[in-house]
């Protein structure tokens, strides 16, 4: 890992000195050793703040939305999940590929700061190597099949409707509507989110089970075919809601109904719910 850190710093210094990028987004150490939050390096003198270790969990891609019309190029360090997130933002028409300079990093997985084990979000990662980049750091990590990807969902599907309802009610009762899940999600990039339109009537501001469930289910549905399975939502949630169990359920169904599909592997493939086939499966209509 420290080899990558050295390379990161060198590349950052080079890009900033030459003026190829205006600033570069990476990671630096927080106060505690198990924290490596995002860092914004604006000059070569600060490049030594950059770090690559097993706690670089936060995604860097979403910050590109803060600067949609940058004065110069924006540099960004991107692992596999970040690269897919960047593709997601490009495909959703939120940023321009020409405005960013992607330094890809091959990632073998991050650790959960609380336990030191492999982070939940990295457990089912199928694309550890960035699929889009301008230059690449690190040796490619072998891509393995993840047969457990839908295991938790299959377990939940076996429950009776009342048990399922009880399970999800328990979870959504915990929700404090902080919207951390929405704010970290690269697929949640609407300029005005439906929850902010509370005069219109979509979503009330009250915190109760009904409104919390409405928020959770609606957000899951809104991102259904665009979710890149980065797991940031579940990581950011302060109440440990199992959000990926909702998102992956939708992905599983979409795979089953409309053919195998993974979001944002490129910027051309239309997401399944935005297109149709004349011979689509019709189960009950």
């Amino acid at each position: 890992m420290s080899d990558t850190t050295v390379k990161m710093r060198d590349i950052a210094k080079d890009l900033l000195d030459k003026g190829t990028v205006h600033y570069i987004i990476g990671w630096e150490k927080g106060r505690f050793s198990n924290q490596s939050p995002p860092a914004f390096i604006t000059s070569a003198a600060h490049a030594d703040r950059l770090i690559w270790d097993e706690y670089c969990l936060a995604s860097t891609a979403k910050y590109l939305l803060d600067d949609k019309f940058p004065a110069g190029k924006i540099g960004i360090f991107a692992r596999g999940c970040d690269a897919r997130a960047i593709n997601r933002l490009i495909q959703d028409g939120q940023i321009n590929r020409e405005n960013i300079y992607i330094v890809g990093i091959c990632c073998s997985g991050m650790k959960d700061p609380a336990t030191g084990n492999t982070a939940d979000k990295c457990q089912h990662c199928t694309h550890p190597n960035p699929i889009v980049y301008d230059i690449l750091i690190g040796d490619p990590v072998p891509e393995t099949d993840k047969p457990e990807r839908f295991k938790a969902i299959e377990e939940l599907e076996k429950l009776s409707p009342d048990e399922k309802h009880a399970y999800w009610s328990k979870q959504f009762e915990k929700c404090i509507r902080c919207y951390a899940c929405r704010n970290v999600c690269p697929a949640c990039n609407c300029r005005e989110c439906f929850v902010d339109q509370y005069r219109v009537g979509w979503q009330g501001k009250q915190n109760n089970l009904a409104e919390n469930q409405l928020f959770g289910l609606t957000r899951a549905y809104h991102i259904a075919d665009r979710c890149i399975e980065c797991g940031e939502c579940a990581r950011a949630c302060p109440m440990d809601l199992p959000l990926m169990e909702l998102n992956r359920k939708l992905i599983k169904d979409i795979n089953q109904l409309f053919g195998p599909y993974e979001a944002s592997l490129d910027t051309e493939t239309t997401p399944p719910l935005a297109k149709y086939h004349l011979k689509d499966l019709e189960e009950f209509m």
Binding site: K164, A210, T218, L257, P272, Y276
Partner: protein
Amino acid sequence: MDVIEEQQWEPKILAFCCNWCAYSGADLAGLNRMKYPENIRILRVPCSARVNPQFILRAFQKGADGVLVAGCHPGDCHYATGNYYTRRRFQVMKRLLEYSGIDPRRFQAKWVSGAEADKFRATVTKLCEDVKAIGPSRKLGGSK
């Protein structure tokens, strides 16, 4: 719920009907004096693709016991392609509803053409019977 309330309970079913086919089908059913349950409240939309899955969630939240989405048969959409999206959308939505614990019999999506008055009658009657058998929807509970 006490016995008297239970005996008096009638399901509330919200039916989103597309203007060109399903609504006309319902209209034809009325013209032909076909009897179908009064529990149905019809909401006319220009196309079944107008129905936002959030409407379904909101309906259940606000007290609907069952929801029906009815549109033109694929290939016959007045706007050419709307109901193809409806088809994909509501298959996914139905599974999501089921996964969150709502009985799958509460939500139906059906194709009803302008001439299929009887299909409309049969669909809503069956939906009403199914929902009556299950009982009132207490899930995604009211925002009260």
